[in-house]
Symmetry: C2
């Protein structure tokens, strides 16, 4: 770091571009800067890039974390103008043009912020401990542990009401993550675990997906939303539409006036951007996204760019959606803007989002696809979904391993990663008691 501090004071030979966050946006920007005569520094709190669209499969024991995560250093190894640094950004000194990383400062000429988002609990941050969201690897292994432990505890439970509560799973939020989680848990209970227990029948598990809006997957055409709802019900999940969660504790959730007793509640609703707007003192929307200019720069700071889930970018009346392709395209565009400026060329043509369409999967062999006017559903859509996701994975090894896992579970209904880790049996009761106390 001290080296970097010294560098910050010395005039730099080539400009330094600091990229904060190696998600889809940050990584795309970095890779698009490969030929730019600049020093690129990638900062991330984690050593890995995570393929979030498949994180729900880690949470439901289908894949291992390493199947969908890659060391950032490994991805950028051969890009010689890049340095990768593990570090947590505390703020930005706009006048000195320095990023505060841990105890150190790192000067920049251009700054790209791509720090993503977390789930929002609508002002009830205390719900998070009862209803974890799904953004990081640890979230996925925590949810996996909770789901599998619920079945284990039901197996040796004494009280029938408590057993039922243990076998109730509530997923809050009917977007892609919520739908995919509900489908995967339903199949886990009805297929993979079906004959593993002696005192309970996992098929009696109740999986409830709660969505406050009038339909699931609002970014899809209504008929596909309806198909997703019916498919989930066919898998044995219940779908509650137009119902908001109004309370959440260690024993369940309140949905409107009703209450669902449940051991396992998973949060897949709402989005809150990373605190980038606070670092920058920039204008933001209600979800904390920085409102960016037409080139993703921050008002009054043409050297600072924000992309991905942390940015609010409007195309006319539409906001750029918070999906991986949008973040990638924004990252690539910003790289072009910076590259041209570094070379003293004029700015590129305005950004235009190429909407490649929307995909979501429901269970082991059904999906929905909406691409412009084209939309299809069912098994063919699932094949398309599978191929697309394998294509977007990084590295041949991961593609083979994930494809193999999917083929395997398609044929056998098995889940290969049914591990309860991070807790011993004797600690289970203690951790539940602690949670109860907190509610």
């Amino acid at each position: 770091m001290q080296e970097n501090q010294e560098k910050a004071r010395r005039p730099r030979v080539v400009p330094r571009i600091v990229i904060v966050g190696a998600g889809f946006g940050g990584l795309a920007a970095t890779q698009a800067l490969a030929r730019t005569p600049a020093e690129v520094v990638v900062l991330d709190r984690r050593n890995h890039h995570l393929f979030q669209p498949l994180l729900y499969q880690v949470a439901t024991a289908g894949l291992s974390p390493a199947d969908i995560a890659w060391p950032i250093r490994g991805i950028l190894r051969s890009q010689s103008n890049v340095t990768v640094q593990l570090g947590s950004v505390r703020g930005v000194d706009l006048s000195a043009r320095e990023v505060m990383v841990g105890d150190a400062r790192l000067g920049y000429d251009y700054l790209v912020i791509a720090t993503g988002a977390r789930h929002a609990y609508f002002g009830h941050d205390d719900w998070e401990k009862f209803a974890p969201g799904l953004k990081r690897i640890e979230d996925a292994t925590t949810i996996r542990r909770r789901i599998l432990l619920a079945f284990e505890m039901a197996e040796c439970g004494r009280d029938p009401a408590e057993r039922r509560r243990l076998l109730n799973f509530v997923i809050v939020g009917g977007g892609a993550t919520g739908v995919e989680m509900a489908g995967a848990i339903a199949e886990l209970a009805r297929k993979a675990l079906a004959s593993d227990f002696r005192h309970i029948d996992p098929r009696e598990a109740r999986i409830v997906l709660v969505e406050a809006g009038p339909r699931l997957l609002p970014s899809f055409p209504p008929e596909l939303s309806e198909f997703a709802r019916r498919s989930l019900e066919k898998l044995g999940a219940e779908v509650l539409l137009g119902k908001a969660v109004t309370g959440c504790d260690a024993d369940g959730v309140a949905v409107g006036d009703a209450r669902i007793e449940a051991e396992t509640v998973i949060w897949a609703a709402g989005v809150m951007a990373s605190p980038a707007a606070t670092w920058l003192g920039a204008e933001c929307d209600k979800a904390g996204r920085v409102i960016v200019e037409r080139d993703f720069s921050v008002k009054g700071h043409p050297e600072i760019f924000v992309v991905g889930d942390t940015a609010h970018f409007s195309e006319g009346e539409r906001m750029l959606p918070g999906v991986a392709p949008a973040a990638k395209q924004a990252g690539q565009y910003v790289a072009r803007v910076i590259d041209r400026r570094v070379r003293g060329q004029k700015a590129p043509a305005p950004f235009r989002y190429r909407d490649w369409g929307n995909l979501a999967t429901i269970g082991r062999k059904s999906a929905i696809v909406a691409m412009g006017r084209l939309s299809f559903k069912g098994w063919l859509a699932w094949v398309f979904w599978s191929v697309a996701h394998i294509y977007f994975l990084i590295g041949l090894r991961n593609r083979i391993v994930v494809a193999l896992n999917w083929l395997w579970s398609y044929v056998t209904f098995e889940r290969g990663a049914r591990l309860i880790t991070g807790i011993d049996a004797e600690d289970v009761q203690a951790s539940r008691d602690a949670l109860r106390k907190a509610s």
Copy 2:
């Protein structure tokens, strides 16, 4: 559990065999009891059986936890006389013939204890936090995190002495685990990570294997021990023989009169059996192993058996070694003893250990094999080692995935699971400070 308590009081139609621990010994006993007219209850603190011989590959980012662990329920799914229960044993009530599990009690007619061992710190249990051992999945992911973080911290370190300290790795204990860890870390540093950093050269990492005895791998013929030592040195590791670790803190270890400054210390020395001897009030050896009779039963308790790393079984002057095949054979033998007793038949012929030989691997493509008078080494031994280990893995899926991973890293030198999980960059310093404070 209450059900079980009731059952414990009711006279049972068929005898109940309780098996504590689903490692190699417990699982082998359970599977060998498949046709026994009895109710078999398997208790484990974890929901998974772990293939410990490959755990070092998880610790060095070669494999994922799920590649070498399987849900116990899944393995025993089709064995209809078995119930699997997640639970932690607190003790045994010998007179009531009940196992105390959490708050409940579980009656037994026959009890098989196969609860394994942990590393021993020779009376210095406080060293464990500085020098973790390698027995559970969490141990492996912790060690993986420490190894990878050491490189990350060295990359942004300011002080050359501190950088060198961060790149020093000490492995204590020259048995199979120690040798395999040292070889795997050396290759990680010299191959997989070689071109990933900009400010450090991972090839400058110093890997030191410390063994108090006169040679590595004492269970092998001396010439193979010597081959292993030379192979490790060729991979770039240092081997210190006849040197005992006399101190251990957050900054390094004391080896005799010398001191090695090191961020990462891994413990692979000494064995301490699980507290089964305390539960049973039975005679044990210095390592806490229960001294068992010729049929693995506990003196004065012909209905209680102890197998695996928790048992001390003597064949003449030789003690049964603490390896997977010995645990498996003991488990199968005990199952036969119980089966015959349940059926009112006479006891089987005395136990005879079939020693299939000893294997250990050094790095990515060398190994040593000692089978009776036959011994071989090098690449051919490594192929033999690989095939043997894949054969003993459970399930086709895991065999394919592990084989694929090995082939991949054989060809590319890559490690697929280089994930730092369980900690955020901002917490690294805090956790190091806490460790320093403790030393």
